[in-house]
Symmetry: C2
Subunit: 356 residues, 2 copies
């Protein structure tokens, strides 16, 4: 980032003429206003710029590495399941679990945890918090794996969600990945997390409500209808990847199944490899174009305990968010985001980037 | 933060016995579930820890300094207003404005910007984005000012909000401050920002809805009724400061007017000094106890263009959020937060900390 002294010649006008005017957009999925403001991209900073890449200690081994299994919380399952072979993927309990799998079901009979007072509600912290170790090798990243191997990671998510769905008290499962310290990661060894919640979280309720509203008005599912055109980045047999119309973050990507599907865990083996290949491609494009930025991905699925037949309006997708800008008091206060990059521009860049 | 190898003796059990069980809480103001999970505070990291304090370049002067006014976007007003004296506070246009004050009112007659398609809605980016320079001196921070001077900054917010409220198209004004690079700040010179929006943002709508619901059920305003007890941190003649019951962030603080008031800009001179003194105290406690962390504060007020008589249920407050933990894919995906510190513990610490 350049220093502030260079911009004093711009102080007489507002944005320079070649900069597009700001625009507010709200998409029919998130129902959240986003401010698109290319002028914001030019602002200077007098703080030392953060290094774009993730600096991890030159550590070669950690508890997630092959041979360190005893340093981890208990294993739930591994891939391949046979214990004779070295593992490729391990699904384990999170040692510092945000929720407790040993507490009582907070909604169970003769248990009265849902104390609701004037001040608010309290619920026992029942739930599951697992870690998916995506590779036994410390230096390998998810995008280094083959499409088949990425597909196996996705199928490990699926298997674990199916197990969690057998608990009536679990209402929603959030699968997510943090890559790089500024995306929240505390461990550098390639992994993702699965958190199973006794409540349907707020963004999911909002998404369900707006999907229902859209379905009510149009008779269609909003993600089946998603207009691609200039927002399309890539496609595979079963999936498309787009820059969402009202992206909250610059270079945000959504990977969406072409055909209606409410729950991520409907994914079959062939689709998992196909998704693995598109996900790998998107991660490599982001890494190459944006200089290996920290990122998060999140799988947005439907609540559990609801049959697919009741969900014609709701369509799962995977959201990738490179962490390029950070947020401040405006976003914390309002829940609105300021995005300096129009999604059609991000889509063009990501469509055209040539990975060597 | 310690390395992961030290915790291998804990792998057989879950959280150690002295750690309190996790709990979910939702308060009647934000209506958002928060996971309280003290066990999370103990997790290790193999990334280099970020320095807790804000490292700015050893710069002594910047465009916000006395004598550099020509490097800034146009001034709106200054305090004191007389141009003969040196200024104490300047309210200026943001040079990299997120919204444009020169665009048409997006809701004006014979203007059809609110194009609503299957994909979503678009609105011209009309609005105001200002910067409040809180002091002419580069090295002075807000909490270094006297209570009277902090009060003058608050009255500058008030005056600017009153000006912005004269625009019918402005529906909400967000006042916020970013301190430190990891709280989003790009300028280290002490300042805050004021963003005036043509829409009511999502967190405000949610807050209004839950306040209405509470009022409907109880006949009372939820913040007039806020139970303090173990959540109280400090108080002044006209304000109390508390750790909110379902704080999203560790050591989050709310400063609330004792008597019902819907709009921040009802603040008078005496209350401004009183609030200035409590705000200064809270910022000094946070800085002293938590080692000068980055932080944000946000003023949560009511929408404009609505008379106070229609707002018996909604009560403004100021929220302070020290940035201690960062967020990850779980929070981005669900809108739920994981807070390792119970608010009653944070309140106790902040109540008892002795500032030298
Ligand atoms: N030996 C061991 N055995 C089993 N598990 C182990 C372990 N050692 C560490 N772990 C767990 O491994 C996980 C690694 O996760 P990440 O690096 O993705 O981020 P983390 O969850 O720490 O926090 C980020 O993600 C969360 C959720 O989004 C945010 O709340 C937070 O602010 C952000 O930093 C941690 O949850 C940790 O508890
Ligand atoms: N010469 C000049 N004259 C007038 N104004 C000048 C100027 N030079 C710089 N500015 C403005 O001064 C402001 C300083 O603001 P902050 O340091 O609080 O954070 P910033 O708005 O950059 O971004 C943080 O806050 C926003 C809003 O929360 C987040 O979107 C973002 O991610 C986060 O980094 C900037 O908005 C900048 O445009």
């Amino acid at each position: 980032k350049t220093k502030t002294t260079q911009i004093s010649d711009q102080t007489n006008g507002m944005a320079s003429p070649q900069v597009r005017s700001p625009e507010l957009r709200k998409d029919s999925v998130t129902k959240r206003w986003v401010i698109f403001s290319p002028a914001r991209a030019k602002r200077p900073s007098d703080f030392k710029s953060k290094s774009p890449t993730t600096q991890s200690q030159q550590q070669q081994e950690c508890p997630f590495c092959l041979g360190h299994e005893h340093e981890c919380a208990p294993e739930i399952f591994r891939v391949p399941p046979s214990s004779g072979l070295p593992w490729k993927i391990r699904v384990i309990e999170n040692l510092y679990s945000a929720l407790s799998r040993t507490l009582d079901d907070p909604f169970a009979q003769n248990h009265n945890p849902n104390s609701s007072g004037s001040v608010g509600q309290v619920l026992g912290g029942f739930g599951f918090h697992d870690v998916v170790i995506e590779t036994p090798v410390h230096s390998v990243q998810l995008s280094d794996l083959s499409p088949q191997e990425v597909g196996e990671v996705l199928l490990a998510y699926k298997k674990r969600i199916q197990q969690l769905a057998t608990h009536d008290a679990i209402k929603y499962v959030q699968v997510f990945k943090n890559y790089g310290a500024s995306a929240g990661a505390s461990m550098s060894h390639s992994h993702s997390q699965i958190l199973a919640l006794p409540v349907v979280p707020p963004t999911v309720s909002t998404r369900l409500d707006s999907a229902k509203e859209f379905f009510h008005e149009t008779g269609k599912c909003s993600l089946c209808e998603v207009r691609v055109e200039d927002l399309l980045i890539d496609e595979s047999s079963h999936f498309i990847s787009i820059a969402p119309f009202a992206a909250s973050f610059p270079f945000e990507i959504w990977i969406i199944p072409r055909h209606h599907s409410s729950h991520f865990h409907e994914l079959d083996g062939a689709k998992a490899v196909d998704l693995g290949s598109l996900l790998k491609l998107m991660l490599r494009k982001v890494s190459f174009q944006l200089n290996n930025p920290p990122f998060n991905f999140m799988i947005h699925t439907s609540p559990l305990q609801v049959p697919n037949s009741q969900l014609p309006h709701i369509h799962w997708f995977l959201q990738i968010v490179p962490q390029l800008t950070g947020i401040g008091g405006f976003e914390l206060g309002t829940g609105c985001y300021i995005n300096p990059v129009f999604p059609e521009d991000a889509a063009k860049v990501l469509r055209e980037v040539h990975i060597p």
